[in-house]
């Protein structure tokens, strides 16, 4: 075997996030170690695996049957890896197998055979397989229609769980208590999956998972088990999870372990897999819920929780190596055929970002809504819970001490939302009995007792002040994971900022000699010495595991949890910065807590602190390590926000000065700077008083952009097009005050948005890349479709942008990466935003231009000589297009429109000879399907309807059948464009748009909202949402719609070339 094809997972979406960058990167490393040539297909350009240091060849193309088939024809690989790219890769692989492509081209599936994969994915087969060896599974029946579903429940009985086979992250699943719910759920699940399962509900049982590894010699081990704090009924991706399990006895732990091994042997898995159990909390009864025959989110978590490199080992095993031939990468002495023993506890906490979506339900359940996760390591449950909460929720200081209240605690406990754990703490605080809480939540009382410990110590703290607090209590609080801020809030009654309180407690703590200790993760609980520095801090200890040598070390602050707007791209920046620092001879220290990342692989840096990115913790590490400085410009907004605060504590910040960062971040200061430079900006005003808003709005002229300060989250950023909309917004946000001001900005319509990503050295620009948005301004830059090099900008515009960028870089004396966003209208340029850090698009532009911006930035930051890169922009023979990846299908009720708040969970980027080819490849990579025949149009305002005339004509001439809602239909009639009228969903008339969507009689919906403000239950909303629920592609932006029509009129499937990255360069 010489050449191996690896399928990636594509754009990050809910249920399939950064963990596959981790697993794919590890697999590539493992293959390269065996001198195999690696070919990677992954359109996710922001990943580390698609960097030039990794795979030998990268295709930025959709991971779909059509494209991968052609890649196989072209590359003729000897083997293929299907289990490192999530459900996307697995589904693609199954299709290639079923259609005989793999056989035809002699491609061996490495690792678990496809038949086994199919047996784990097809529920009927799976149940049959498990029954062969007398393993218990929940009563379940696979059905393909609603009628069969009803019959199935007659046998099983309510309540049941309905879920789709072949789906990721429990997509389209839910609990049904009665026939109506069953019908509704089945219909929806059947829309995304041809087969669905009706399964006996085991709500309330303990949910336990094992990660199992097996080699071709039949050696089989379980690397880690994990217990969900939230019992069955809540998707494991939505649950708080601990590893190892905490409430299982030896008999339970090892019974499930033995079953895991028995099942995995029987199925014939080779490599890595995950098995999920339900365990009765009141008896020895159990059920196997499912087996994932691939690397998963859980396996990434298990890898980070134990230090066992699951993906790396799995890749080696799929090449036919045995477990005993592989060394333990941490001890470098013992072998990989062992089961890690943990002398610490880890806790995973999901990262939800539900505030970002309009109209989405906050109730959590059997399908996944979280967009990321964090993991905390410590030596008490209380410590890891509080740490994890601070990691997941940036403004929270721990489990207790946050300003939150609940209307109805009982309801909060019974119907879990993303805030349930806080409701549990509140209920304990209010005196509700643990028995009652356990009844309402089904959470094991052991966990509740631990939460109670936190609540009680918090109460105890309030009895003291900073002078009277006993040392023993202070220490106890720290051992239970209290932050200095939490303690400060209880014992400092004066009105000072939380940071000040926290720093005062810090001083007190140090005077009493209460410090955290550095502990090492070694996979063997201290039995053998570890050779790697995978570290965490704890107050439950009495000595450091490592001695700090005063080496030339640099701290890099990571990006924290993945969430909307903060994703794998920042991890790419952090990793690349680390690699460059190593090349320059520095010892690198990474601080990050996101288990889905490559930056938290312990072989990327010299010392990895799997720790909080809070002022307190970064100072702890800084004081222990005494490094040469801290890099804050790679990990996105979290490190950026720490810059000034760290600087004030005399931490050496490398790169652009913290004062300059503040000058760019602070709206007033930045605005003043722009005025001084004579650079235009949209008019804006900060208001602390409701009455003045209307006057300002009228002065600016509608539409206006309203941006509340973070405290008002829940009523996020909005656009008001008229006085009515302004009033509606103000009703929601009644809390405007001096502390919580609102910023009003004039919203420019019809303007182009342009971004520049650049690196400067002492104020001089070294390299830059300009990208234009396809959509007009008003769509968040993270949701916009980016094109680089720009295809439709005037030379004058580009010249002006370059000039302004140079001026800003100079006056802020920038050293390092930065990004500026511009508006351009009629050759007028306005600056909207400037970030003195790496931006989301750094990996994109770095890869399109094949210039590593982060490498240059890192060298500049370290004061090395860097040569200017000249004229990068205009001499490319190809175009890169970056498109957003949305996860609206998973967010029940969310309106899939683009607005000023970012809603995409990931991105993809593809290359093409022209914008049309690149654009089509990019949207196909996000799951979009080219319509075959029928398109439903509602094209928005009169202006937009007009803009679409040419496109509509083109569609008709290409043979498409157009359907349109009343206004659009009339308009098209007037233009003599053939179309069929469909009535609005809320009209009781046939033919109705809703029927056409739910019966899948249209292949594409183009629905342009009339205003940026969506109204729930409006006709347009129903059309958009139903299209999403029934997996019909949808376009909601007029510019995108026109570009799409133009693209398909110029290119068909055959024109989309199968070219790897290097073939473009």
């Amino acid at each position: 075997m010489k050449k191996v094809l690896i399928l990636g997972s594509g754009g990050l979406s809910i249920g399939q996030a950064g963990e596959f960058d981790y697993s794919g990167s590890q697999a590539i490393k493992a293959l390269k170690e065996e001198n195999l040539q690696t070919i990677l297909v992954n359109p996710n350009i922001a990943t580390i695996q698609t960097s030039s240091e990794f795979a030998d060849k990268v295709y930025f193309l959709p991971v779909t049957y059509q494209f991968v088939k052609k890649i196989i024809e072209k590359e003729k690989p000897d083997g293929i890896l299907l289990s490192f790219g999530g459900q996307t890769a697995l589904n693609c692989g199954i299709e290639l197998y079923k259609k005989g492509i793999l056989r035809k081209f002699g491609v061996n599936v490495l690792g678990t055979p496809v038949e086994t994969i199919i047996a784990t994915e097809d529920r009927d087969l799976f149940v049959k397989k498990l029954k062969e060896i007398n393993i218990k599974v929940p009563d379940s029946i696979a059905v393909t229609s609603i009628k069969e579903a009803i019959n199935a429940v007659e046998k099983i009985g309510f309540p049941v769980i309905v879920r789709g086979a072949y789906s990721l992250g429990g997509l389209g699943s839910g609990f049904a208590e009665n026939k109506e719910e069953l019908k509704k759920l089945s219909k929806k699940a059947l829309a995304t999956s041809s087969q669905i399962l009706i399964e006996k509900s085991l709500k309330g049982w303990k949910e336990v998972e094992y990660e199992v590894v097996r080699d071709c010699k039949d050696n089989c081990i379980t690397v880690c088990n994990m217990e969900n704090v939230d019992p069955l009924g809540i998707h494991t991706g939505e649950s708080i999870v601990v590893a190892p399990s905490q409430t299982l006895t030896n008999d339970e732990y090892h019974k499930l372990r033995t079953i895991s091994i028995t099942v995995i042997r029987h199925l014939g898995i080779i490599g890595e897999c995950n098995i999920q159990f339900a365990l009765d909390p009141y008896s020895e009864d159990y059920c196997v819920i499912e087996v994932n025959a691939r690397l998963s989110r859980s396996s990434a978590l298990a890898s980070k929780a134990t230090g066992y490199p699951l993906a790396f080992v799995a890749a080696k095993l799929s090449l036919g190596k045995s477990l005993t031939e592989i060394k333990n990468a941490i001890t470098k002495a013992t072998c990989a055929c062992f089961e890690p023993s943990l002398d610490y506890i880890t806790l995973k906490f999901p990262k939800w970002d539900l505030e970002k979506f309009k109209a989405v339900s906050k109730v959590i359940g059997s399908s996944m809504k979280s967009v990321g996760e964090v993991m905390a390591i410590g030596r008490t449950f209380e410590e890891v819970l509080q740490k994890a909460i601070r990691m997941s929720k940036e403004n929270f200081i721990g489990l207790v001490g946050n300003n939150i209240s609940f209307q109805n605690l009982k309801e909060e406990l019974r119907f879990p939302s993303d805030m349930r754990i806080f409701a549990v703490a509140k209920a304990i605080e209010k005196g509700m009995s643990l028995d009652k809480i356990a009844r309402l939540t089904n959470i094991d009382k052991w966990f509740l007792h631990k939460i109670k410990n936190i609540v009680e110590v918090n109460k105890e703290l309030a009895k003291y002040n900073i002078k009277t607090i006993p040392k023993e209590l202070l220490k106890q609080a720290k051992m239970l994971g209290f932050s200095d801020a939490q303690i400060g809030k209880q014992i400092i009654k004066e009105k000072v900022s939380l940071d000040k309180k926290s720093l005062r407690v810090r001083r007190l703590r140090k005077s009493k000699k209460i410090f955290p200790f550095i502990k090492q993760i070694d996979t063997l609980a201290g039995e053998y010495p570890a050779k790697t520095n995978y570290l965490y801090l704890t107050y439950n200890g009495s000595e450091d595991d490592i001695t700090i040598r005063n080496d030339e070390s640099i701290v890099i602050l990571g990006s924290g949890a993945y969430k909307i707007g903060n994703s794998v791209e920042f991890d790419w920046c952090c990793v690349n910065c680390t690699l460059t620092l190593s090349k320059l001879g520095y010892k690198t220290i990474m601080i990050n807590y996101n288990p889905e990342t490559v930056s938290t692989d312990y072989d990327i840096c010299d010392r990895l602190y799997f720790e909080e990115l809070t002022l307190e913790r970064v100072l702890d590490i800084y004081e222990k390590e005494n490094p040469q400085g801290v890099v804050v410009s790679m990990g996105g907004q979290i490190p950026n926000n720490l810059a000034l605060r760290l600087h004030e504590q005399r931490v050496k910040i490398l790169g652009t000065a913290p004062k300059s960062i503040d000058n760019a971040e602070d709206r007033h200061k930045f605005s003043k700077l722009l005025d001084e430079l004579n650079v235009d900006q949209p008019p804006w005003k900060e208001l602390t008083n409701m009455k003045t808003i209307k006057n300002v709005a009228e002065k600016f002229g509608y539409p206006i952009l309203i941006r509340p300060s973070y405290i008002l989250s829940g009523s996020a950023m909005s656009v008001a097009s008229n006085e009515d909309e302004l009033k509606r917004f103000l009703k929601k946000a009644s809390l405007i005050s001096k502390e919580h001001p609102v910023v009003i900005t004039k919203f420019l319509t019809g303007a182009k948005e342009i971004e520049i990503d650049a690196v400067a050295n002492k104020g001089d620009i070294i390299c830059y890349a300009i990208s234009e948005h396809v959509e007009n301004a008003g769509v968040h830059s993270g949701d916009a479709t980016l094109v680089t090099p720009p295809q439709r900008l005037y030379h004058e515009t580009v010249r002006r942008i370059k000039k302004i960028t140079r001026m800003i870089a100079k006056s802020l004396d920038i050293t390092g990466p930065f990004n500026i966003q511009y508006l351009a209208k009629d050759n007028e340029i306005k600056v909207i935003e400037c970030n003195l850090r790496a931006s989301r698009s750094f990996p994109f532009v770095s890869k399109v231009y094949n210039v590593n911006f982060i490498d240059l930035a890192t060298r500049a930051i370290m004061g090395r000589h860097v040569r200017k890169i000249q004229n990068t922009s205009f001499d490319l023979d190809y175009v890169g297009v970056k498109a957003p990846q949305f996860s609206f299908t998973r967010l029940r009720g969310a309106d899939p429109i683009l607005g000023v708040e970012m809603a995409s969970t990931g991105e993809v980027a593809c290359f093409g000879d022209d914008i049309f080819e690149a654009f089509l490849k990019a949207i196909l990579s996000t799951g979009f399907k080219i319509p075959k025949k029928s398109i439903l149009l509602s094209t928005g305002t009169l202006k937009e309807k007009g803009e679409f005339i040419e496109s509509a004509k083109k569609l008709v001439s290409m043979g498409y059948k157009l359907f349109a809602t009343s206004g659009t239909s009339k308009f098209l009639d007037n233009q003599k464009i053939n179309n069929t009228l469909l009535h609005w969903p809320l009209e009781d008339k046939k033919p109705n748009a809703l029927d056409y969507i739910t019966n899948l009689k249209v292949d594409l919906v183009i629905n342009i909202p009339k205003s940026n403000e969506s109204e729930e239950l409006s006709n347009d909303y129903i059309i958009r949402r139903t299209a999403v629920d029934f997996s019909i592609p949808i376009i909601t932006n007029i510019k995108c719609a026109n570009l799409f029509v133009k693209s398909i009129s110029k290119k068909n499937a055959k024109d989309l070339q199968i070219k790897s990255w290097d073939e473009y360069l």
């Binding site: 055929c337 089961e339 023993s341 009680e456």
Partner: protein, 365 residues
Amino acid sequence: MNFFLEKRKPAKLVLEDSSVFHGFSFGYESSASGEVVFNTGMVGYPESLTDPSYEGQILVLTNPIIGNYGVPGLERDENKLLKHFESDKIHIRGLVISDYSHNYNHWNAKKSLSDWLIEEKITGIFGIDTRALTKKIREKGVMLGKIVIDKDTQIEDPNKLNLVSIVSRKNVIRLGTGTLKILVIDCGIKNNIIRMFLKKDVSLIIVPWNYEIFKEEFDAIFISNGPGDPVRCVETIQNIKLAIQKEIPVFGICLGHQILALAAGAKTYKLKYGHRSQNQPCIDTETNRCYITPQNHGYAVDEKTLPKNWKVWFYNANDSTNEGIKHNIKPFMSVQFHPEGKCGPQDTDFLFDKFIEMINKSKEK
């Protein structure tokens, strides 16, 4: 009031190298001394504490949170064995942990770990940096030590005692009605070995360590696990020497393995800090397969001293120490690890079948 804030009884752990670890008492409030050893298993404290092989030892658990699922009840099975424990009492001298769960929760728990320790008069200390302690033992080797609560105590070396004679039963019991008769030498046998045997078609004659075994009639001998240095089991070694001469099938586990090796003429030695865990990889030299095994031993067989016709059957994939021996022709075999699990994995439970197979084969001859 919260237990964190109550007056807690201070306690300290003192090692023979005079290092001191401060914590709090959560068991019987009396000082205790013993050999300090660590176990890295993540579950199974009720099983570990009642494992007779820990006689004389102060046990450090590296799993930082202990007591979570309480302690089960004293139900007995049809053979009058305690269902949830490995013997009738706690054998450790003291328990050292990091974080104690003052509140437990489990459907089969009857009392807290703390109450159990107090009932059985066993000392317990929590609030210890068990990782730091473990590393110290790893670097310096096992050490004697003491837990001091209130009144100080002398450090005593339990290895000077014949620990097997303390834990071995005093009279013979007969269990099971199966066809094969196995004589079980109890050097401190774990209940689960008996349970595993009784699932097979065997009857057991369980006898004390120094019993005159040849007055009984049997088809094979099993030598159990047990505490301490195997060379102290002089009578047992003598008996096995005779059995070897008589070519009676022998199977040994743990201490039983060491005794078989000594009887065969090999030597044993003390490991620096032993193997006490549930995750030891052992390679079967006949198949090259690797098994995850639970272990609890401080001594090991020196494979270089194995006489002719004896071979290494298993070895440890981490440190290459001996994990099992086998005679090339005759029906003698033994393993250092615990195929019966409890606590720990039971991936090697097929060894009990192998033993029975071996007995049957030798009967055929």
